[in-house]
């Protein structure tokens, strides 16, 4: 591709900026960007193409997020928007940004362990998860399935309450 046909970086930046305002309806404190759901943004002749890589294939929030993404990009001044759902690159919990992890914790969700996404998770990676309330590692895995597909349930033996974890996937 010739350099001249490439859109100015500012246009792509403007779209990324707009996407920072789109949240996952199941975890409203995190943007789709912090979540690592946006695989790629391209702008060409005023047409925007966003590629999103879903957290779970059966995520019920997928259609809502897709619509919100289109809406946010249109609100940023682009009428022509296509949002493609792709599996390449595959989303794994390793794509959640450092800021995203902190926000999960502040929200009361223990962030997933790093570098065990993409089918590499083991039972030991799910043990001794740090409690988001009191930081204790004296915790017990209660259930690998929780109230949404992306959450597991743990119990903190130190502050004696249940907490949820964003699962390493």
């Amino acid at each position: 591709m010739a350099a001249s046909s490439r859109p100015p970086a500012t246009e792509v930046d403007r779209v990324w900026k707009a996407l920072e305002g789109v949240t996952d309806p199941e975890i409203p404190v995190l943007s789709v960007v912090e979540m690592g759901i946006i695989a790629d943004v391209a702008v060409r002749d005023g047409q925007v193409r966003v590629r999103m890589t879903p957290t779970f294939a059966g995520c019920p929030a997928l259609d809502v997020m897709r619509e919100s993404i289109g809406h946010a990009v249109r609100a940023a001044g682009y009428e022509d928007v296509a949002v493609d759902v792709v599996f390449d690159p595959p989303w794994t919990s390793d794509r959640i940004s450092a800021v995203g992890r902190q926000k999960l914790k502040d929200y009361g969700l223990a962030p997933p362990a790093q570098n065990c996404g993409g089918g590499r998770v083991t039972e030991s990676a799910l043990a001794g998860v740090s409690c988001p309330y009191c930081e204790s590692a004296d915790t017990t895995l209660e259930s690998i399935f929780g109230p949404t597909l992306c959450r597991a349930i743990h119990y903190c033996n130190a502050c004696r309450q249940s907490f949820e974890q964003f699962k390493p996937v």
């Binding site: 595959p90 993409g118 089918g119 590499r120 998770v121 039972e123 259930s143 996937v169």
Partner: protein, 283 residues
């Protein structure tokens, strides 16, 4: 061959479409079967576990049907809701009901949701657990193999689904050894479920006329090879749970050519009920 060439060559395309129907239909039907525990699981954690795995599998079915649609097949909803049993390509393991021996004595008073009432009265969760164990281990073996598929959209999808399926295998790998070594009743119920289901589990790997084409084109390994890998995975877990393989099991075949157990008709009657009343309904 490249991905585009595989999708255009008549014999590889036909074989690929057949494979995707098998993968999608297995996912949809086990997803529906597992969803039968939603709200009425034996304990809350298992209610949630089976509901979550059901949601995952129905999501996987959607993803496989989307790949089919990209190859010129109907849209995913029409594929799921618009076909009769003879056009499904799922194996018998996923279609089986969970009533075991209770089949002979249905409860007398059934209300407006007979399937649910029967699950409450006669559903054997041990059957669901052992089925989920056999199925998810096979699912993991398949996805690991398909990550190398020459058909790139399938390789990408397999890579994606692997992380989700890992939780399905972890679930059964945690529960089976615990229950297999808990009480005489829990062991017996798992063992009789394993004995009843094993011939159907072998049927997951029914050879098809497309095996050679798929293997030669690098799309997917032949079924007998996957079956060997699966048996090597499950043997130590069965052993560690105190469960034994039933002697002399012959596989139950037929599903991959559209010859199904009568249970599939019952599943589809429930699954396709709304669509049959009104194909344009939104729910």
């Amino acid at each position: 061959m490249t991905t585009a060439a595989l999708a255009h060559n008549a014999s590889t395309k036909t074989a690929l479409i057949d494979l995707l129907y098998r993968l999608g239909d297995d996912s949809l039907i086990i997803g529906h079967r597992n969803s039968e525990w939603t709200g009425i699981g034996p304990i809350l954690e298992e209610d949630i576990a089976f509901s979550s795995m059901a949601q995952d599998k129905i999501g996987h079915a959607l993803a496989f049907y989307t790949l089919l649609h990209e190859l010129g097949e109907p849209d995913p909803d029409t594929i799921a809701y618009g076909r009769g049993p003879e056009r499904f390509r799922c194996c018998s393991l996923v279609t089986l009901d969970i009533f075991g021996d209770g089949k002979s004595a249905p409860p007398a008073a059934l209300s407006n949701n007979p399937v649910r009432d029967r699950v409450v009265a006669q559903g054997d969760w041990a059957i669901s657990l052992v089925r989920q164990f056999f199925f998810s281990e096979a699912d993991a073996v398949r996805m690991a193999a398909l990550e190398q598929s020459a058909y790139e959209p399938l390789a990408h999808l397999a890579r994606k689904l692997r992380g989700e399926i890992k939780y399905h295998t972890l679930h059964a790998r945690t529960l089976l050894p615990r229950l297999g070594r808990a009480t005489a009743e829990s062991r017996d119920r798992l063992q009789s479920a394993a004995a009843a289901l094993y011939p159907h589990a072998l049927g997951m790997f029914e050879p098809t006329p497309h095996d050679a084409t798929l293997a030669d084109a690098g799309i997917a390994p032949a079924e007998p090879e996957l079956c060997d890998r699966w048996q090597r995975e499950i043997a130590p877990i069965m052993d560690g749970s105190g469960l034994v393989f039933p002697p002399r099991s012959s596989p139950v075949y037929g599903g991959r050519t559209g010859k199904h157990l009568p249970e599939l008709t019952e599943v589809l009657d429930a699954l396709q009920k709304v669509y049959r009343l009104d194909p344009t309904a939104i729910w």
